[in-house]
Symmetry: C2
Subunit: 185 residues, 2 copies
């Protein structure tokens, strides 16, 4: 599966595309950081972000888009812009029918490094290791976007298997109930 | 001038179109509240909001879009969705080249009621009075969207005149300096 990870932000918006499956080596397809100037009006900056994400979705045709879940308790001065950029990323994917998943920073840190409290540097080192890169992608927004994509491949894949197992179980129970009902007639 | 006011929100997003000029009676063109279910995923809800705002911009061709400025200090449980919806409204306008203005709740209250601390009911009553409606539009999101549009017509118009005056003054000073420079040669 191919996943576009988006680390949303107004000033720097990380985008990373990773291809792979659980239990198999992962491959980085591309990584980039969209930048917009604080001297520009917010609506114009959001349009720049929209265009950048749209272009990558068109180019890389991801099976899913993973966006960092933004919390209201984050840094107040930037959280509004981050929330707006995350909304744009979600809409870019959802209006094409591409599934969107939100992962929290702790989930991402735990997935790639084994600890929900890993620092930026540790995340970067693990991303480089998992994607077999010479060094951590810079800036941190680039590493974070790739880490989101990796997290989604691992968690999303596991979640998909759980969902499939639950659906199978439900279907088996439904069939059994139907048989019992037919037998009692 | 015709202004689309947007009171952003994930569950209820108010939209109101008002036509008018400063010092002349204002006319309500249309008002509506987009609703999305909390049972749906946020990306899907944002797409619904995007489609609704896009449809109104296409239908009413506003000269400007006025969006409520969202603050991080607002209610934490809803502020992320509100910020995301406001980002969508901004992008819908900005990608068509329509100017976007943000007005704070206090600015809107002060503009329509004379007090930055007016309550929802007062705002509704003043909106009805200014637009010559029988009663305040319900729910409050509808009144708030219209109040945003009214605020923009009044403030935006004044701001445009100030900008024009400043530009004229600057141009006069520049011409004077150019003349002095020419004279000193």
């Amino acid at each position: 599966m191919r996943v576009l990870g988006v680390d949303p932000g107004l000033t720097r918006c990380g985008m990373g595309v990773v291809q792979g499956e659980i239990g198999r080596p992962l491959t980085m397809i591309d990584v980039n950081v969209l930048r917009t100037s604080s001297g520009e009006a917010v609506p114009i900056r959001l349009v720049t972000i929209e265009k950048g994400i749209d272009a990558w979705i068109d180019e890389y045709q991801p099976d899913a888009v993973a966006v960092e879940r933004v919390f209201a308790r984050s840094d107040v001065s930037t959280v509004m812009g981050t929330a707006q950029a995350s909304g744009i990323a979600m809409v870019c994917a959802a209006r094409r029918g591409i599934p969107v998943a939100l992962h929290t920073p702790s989930e991402v840190k735990a997935a790639v490094s084994g600890s929900g409290r890993a620092d930026k540097a540790q995340v970067g080192i693990m991303v480089a290791k998992l994607l077999r890169l010479d060094k951590p992608p810079k800036p941190a927004d680039a590493s974070d976007a790739l880490a989101l994509a990796i997290t989604h491949i691992w968690r999303g894949g596991a979640q998909a298997r759980i969902d499939a197992a639950v659906a199978k179980q439900k279907s088996a129970v439904a069939k059994q109930l139907a048989r019992q009902k037919a037998g009692s007639k």
